[in-house]
Amino acid sequence: MELLLKVESLTKVFGRGCEQCLSLTGKDGNRCPICGSIVACADVSFELHRGEWLGILGESGSGKSTLLRLLNLELEPTKGRMLVNLEPYTGLDLLSISPYSRRLIRQELFGIVYQNPIHGLRMEVSAGGNVAERLILMGERRVEKIRERVLALFRRLELPEDRMDELPSSFSGGMQQRLQIAKAIVNNPPILLLDEFTTGLDPSVQAGVLELLKEIMFELGISAIVVSHDIGVINFMTHRVLVMNRGRVVEHGLTDQILEDPQDPYTQTLVHSKL
């Protein structure tokens, strides 16, 4: 498979940080005993290939969301590099560019779905408008074309067409997540970032959303990074997985192998407690 994204030593320390932050955290916790800063991600490195679905598994507080927000270029990293193998950006460290270029590149390369729809949707803007935003930002200036595309996505995501111009706050939880997905893929970005996107949903709704999304991802041939603490979701949605604990990657490999035969003790407890 062709390399798409390469992440090197991605690190995020919340707080003022000190020399010892990285060396004194990771074993017992993620708070530096010297300066009190939180090491949310430490030296995370991995590669993502074209069409690949990569899982990030870990319990609450292990740094999954922080990692995803770093990848989405919305958080300033403490350290690290991020390279894409896509023209015209090949060889460019996405973390070293100006906020202005970063926004342009982000909207072209990434679609993101958050656990909490409040983070992913503009609740004061109509559902259709939410989906339309990216298209407009990327230069589409024909209302007719915009609405055609939004309508097509509403159909594909089984959202009620006649509620396109209503506010998303009137939508059910499952509909809001499907709306976030529509918004994330409206301009066919190469990479989809999913952060616990079914966690807030009723179990009866979860399966349907997962099934539909998987189908769409397959159709699009999109690459994805799927964050979850739910082994079922990781098993269903990913080819490979990174296991995170206290901001570190403790194990990585093919999803089947890791879930069947975890090597790291932390992964073992995670897998066994959930099975």
């Binding site: 407009i136 024909r142 915009i146």
Partner: protein, 281 residues
């Protein structure tokens, strides 16, 4: 007023404002913060524009001041009287003779030249205030050109009303980079900013911002192709004084309820009448 410096402001204040103007010209459409001074003017009446005028004006300049196109409004007269008193420069109503034109809410009908400067008084400089209340956020949005929310508000207007509901203060994209508030000029005047020959300077006194549209700079109203930007429609109407059907008209409702229209630009209207234009009957 002899005890004042030429131009009322002290030289240091004028230099600081001129520096900010240079920066504004260098970054078209970007709002440059400046240290706004006290100038003796009625509140709410464009001390931002006046400070720009006072810091640029020289002995050779000829000043024109208009309020909504009118040279004779109390406010315009006050400005001219004040500047005359603190500088001794000549004032005029003739758009063609003026080197500096201070304006509130209009651009003269007559196309301005390279050697003229148009100075706008701006009540609210922030075009994104429609969609975001926080100054800190709007500053970030400009820095990143994060204009999605602004575009969405126009999109929602289209969806709901089939047109953009903004009248005056129509938002524009300057030099393909910054969204700018052109001050409360009518839509009619917005196209005059695009690739203009003259320099446009905008001053907001209360909000302490200066911004500029330099000559030959693109200024595009935010619009969708299938719902294009349109100026006010005066078709079938003409000025009751000079007969013009090519100028921005003010509506006058007479005692009997009859509506008539006259040019909002008084100098333009006067000159047309002097050159023999009449009302077609």
């Amino acid at each position: 007023m002899e005890r004042y410096n030429f131009g009322f402001l002290d030289e240091e204040a004028k230099r600081e404002i001129r520096r900010k103007i240079l920066k504004a010209v260098a970054i078209p459409g970007y709002q440059v913060p400046f240290a706004s001074r006290e100038v003796p003017l009625l509140k709410g009446w464009g001390t931002g524009g006046l400070q720009i005028t006072l810091s640029l004006i020289g002995k050779e300049d000829i000043l024109k001041a208009i309020d909504q196109g009118c040279d004779y409004s109390l406010n315009a007269m006050n400005i001219k009287r004040f500047v005359r008193a603190v500088t001794g420069v000549e004032t005029t109503t003739d758009t063609r003779r003026a080197t500096l034109i201070q304006t509130r809410h209009r651009i003269p009908e007559e196309e301005l030249r390279e050697d003229q400067i148009l100075i706008f008084q701006v009540p609210y400089p922030e075009p994104l205030r429609w969609v975001k209340a926080s100054e800190r956020e709007t500053r970030r949005m400009h820095a990143e050109a994060d204009y999605g929310l602004m575009w969405l508000s126009l999109y929602e207007d289209m969806v709901r009303y089939k047109e953009v509901t903004i009248g005056a203060r129509y938002p524009v994209l300057v030099n393909r980079r910054y969204i700018m508030d052109p001050s409360p000029i009518p839509r009619w005047d917005v196209p005059k900013l695009h690739m203009s020959k003259h320099l446009n300077l905008f001053g907001a006194g209360r909000e302490k911002k200066i911004y500029a549209v330099p000559p030959h700079t693109s200024v595009e109203p935010l619009e969708f192709e299938d719902y294009p930007f349109r100026v006010e429609d005066f078709s079938g109407k003409a000025c009751a004084l000079c007969g013009s059907s090519e100028s921005f008209l003010d509506e006058i409702v007479e005692d009997g309820g009859r509506r008539t229209y006259v040019c909002s630009d008084t100098d333009y209207c006067t000159r047309r009448r002097q050159s023999g234009a009449t009302v077609k009957s």
